[in-house]
Amino acid sequence: MPMDLLRFATAGSVDDGKSTLIGRLLFDSKSIFDDQLNAVERTSRDKGFDYTNLALVTDGLRAEREQGITIDVAYRYFHTPKRKFIIADTPGHIQYTRNMVTGASTADLAIVLVDARAGIVEQTRRHAFLVSLLRVPHLVLCINKMDLVDYDQDVYERLRQEFLSFATKLAIPDLQIIPISALLGDNVVERSTNMPWYDGPALLHQLENVYVSSDRNMVDARMPVQYVIRPQSNEYHDYRGYAGQIAGGVFKPGDEVMVMPSGLTSRISAIETADGPVAEAFSPMSVTFRLEDDIDVSRGDMIARPHNAPEPRQDLDAMVCWMVDSPLKQGRRLLIKHTTRTVRVAFRELQYRLDINTLHRDETAETLSLNEIGRVRFRAAQPVFADPYSRNRLTGGFIVIDAGTNATVGAGMVLDN
């Protein structure tokens, strides 16, 4: 089996040892190069550390160092013989919600870090909640700094029980709790000999082996049309192909399909790629459909099946995370981009604002500010063809764009109306 790809997000602050953990994963998988390591050693000396501080590998831009800020999400890469990994590294403290939501949106797995001495704190619950809100299918809770609690099994068991009783409410399909020391490498790449009482996998083993193929929706066939290919050359005179990335289910040549919003039906005559036709197409393949009938199809349309198509929605209920300083409020000119379709929307109602620390719902709130999450109703100028986010992350997620500034101001997850 060729190497596959796992995207994971890390949540936690510097104090939890997140940078050290990432540095350790990169270092032990030999993904830190000598020139990077030399720079880290130099900086470690300059800053007066008596050891090479691997956390400095993830040290940011000069703009950040000068201003003492952390700029949202950084992406990092490493591989082992089994898998390639993309880490979405999100800072824990500043603008944590916006950044974590962004990093988690594409993640197959999330790592949440806990300091064994501090235990399960408010931030841990917040991170775990966001992981479940974004429906990241796999969560690994790393109980870090076990070296500082003498590798004590009781500490691990107590934190484990505490987290489990909280997590039962969170709808996390797969949870692994691993005691580690990122600084010393215990249970990061190799099983630790300091914790013989722990019989689970080391972190890297979990990352290499977690099964993610079944996390996509393979049932509800969806292809948002991105681009209509019309070569206008003699060789391909009447050619018309509908290009897009499969967002759910499986399509095969011969399948009867329905195109939204027209509701017209046809059959797939061929599924093409530059490498030749394929017998079936599934997420996340980028392909081109050819249809038997000459019907009107354009960008922003959704190709689905006649008996399994998304409901056209103009009233859109969604959990929305607000991402800019100026709040979400009535009268603001907004657009949403959902799959390949961008439509005008009006903000109708904030049903409640969620306190992500206590998870209480404030139904008296009227606006959402930066880093706040709430249940919102939008009215769209044209229908969008969305599935509930709980069923499909790709056809259930959208971004909110300010029609005046063009900035991305929010992210939404569609709910059942």
Binding site: R62, Y75, T102, I229, P231, Y389
Partner: protein, 320 residues
């Protein structure tokens, strides 16, 4: 104040019943290819005047190949832009012209040499031409009214790139503001801009150097000969091997010697270093990179060594 305290996320739902008995999997390279094709199609669909940056290096060759795949069987629906420093490796120019012919590309060239000759730019001896490239790039963009440039930048290259978006917003002066980037979620990219503003799009953001070479091997792409081990007259500067040529600004205390080298990146000949290597085939290059202990930019780019934040500064000014 009315509150309830259910803690289950609103996005929770029953698990989707999945078909069994069939393992729908893509390899890592297939996944990256599908993502890149999606990005190319988004760019072509959302912008009026796109251009693809082409240097003749391995990343831009992969970009060109992906673009061709994205729109097959139609031709690539945008222009190809080469910012020519005048310090080119001849093999790279030959390959560029061959591909333009074979793929019927519409090539636009912005010339640093022309800008120097006309007095628009002044060259600082020994500094290479990368900074000058930015000026010519911005001029060429303005003249052609390009609203989006696609580049082969990868996030594994350098830490300024690690924090850059796939659709990277630039103001009317081409400047990048790392503190004010648009969040990118799922596979949704925001390409909306006002007149005069632009986007730099990076379809292979998530590829690594090893991915690029593995893909070149898998897809049997042509690459310039300078990537393979060959004998060359070089001299040493700052621990790098630079080609001895008319443009190299070699000092008298830098003796020329012959070495078996290859290039890991293709850039301005005067500031791109070679590495000693015996890799004569793609498979040998892949083995060498997998075992390499130095990043490609650290090994080969004098321009990134001026300061630790060299790339960050150049990006802010409008460089790729």
């Amino acid at each position: 104040m009315t509150t309830t305290s259910s803690q289950t996320p609103e996005t929770a739902g029953p698990p989707v019943e999945q078909p069994t008995g069939h393992d729908y999997r893509l390899s890592e390279l297939q996944t990256l290819e599908a993502e890149s094709i999606h990005i190319f199609r988004e760019v072509a669909a959302e912008f009026g005047r796109p251009a693809l940056m082409f240097s003749g290096g391995k990343d831009s060759l992969v970009m060109l190949h992906l673009a061709a795949k994205a729109f097959f069987p139609a031709r690539i629906p945008f222009k190809i832009l080469h910012i020519d420093t005048g310090h080119n490796f001849p093999e790279v120019m030959t390959l560029r012209d061959k591909l333009v012919e074979e793929m019927s590309l519409q090539l636009v060239v912005g010339s640093v040499q022309d800008a120097i000759d006309s007095g628009d730019l002044t060259e600082v001896p020994g500094q290479g031409r990368n900074r000058l490239q930015t000026h010519v790039l911005l001029e060429t963009v303005e003249k052609n009214k390009f609203d989006v440039l696609m580049g082969g930048g990868r996030r594994d290259e350098e830490k300024a790139r690690a924090k850059e978006r796939v659709f990277s917003f630039r103001d009317e002066f081409g400047q990048w503001d790392p503190k004010n980037q648009r969040p990118e979620l799922w596979n949704l990219y925001n390409g909306r801009i006002h007149p005069g503003e632009s986007i730099r799009a990076f379809p292979i953001s998530n590829w690594t150097e090893l991915d690029v070479w593995s893909y070149i091997e898998a897809e049997k792409l042509q690459v310039p000969g300078i990537y393979f081990a060959h004998e060359r007259k070089v001299f040493e500067r700052d621990g790098m091997l630079l080609a001895d040529s008319d443009v190299s600004a070699r000092r008298d205390d830098e003796p020329v010697f012959t070495a078996t080298v290859r290039y890991r990146t293709v850039g301005d000949m005067s500031c791109t270093g070679a590495v000693e290597s015996d890799a004569h085939t793609l498979a040998e290059i892949i083995d060498e990179i997998a075992a390499s202990r130095i990043t490609e930019r650290g090994a080969t780019r004098a321009d990134d060594r001026f300061s630790e934040a060299a790339m960050e500064d150049r990006k802010r000014e409008g460089y790729f």
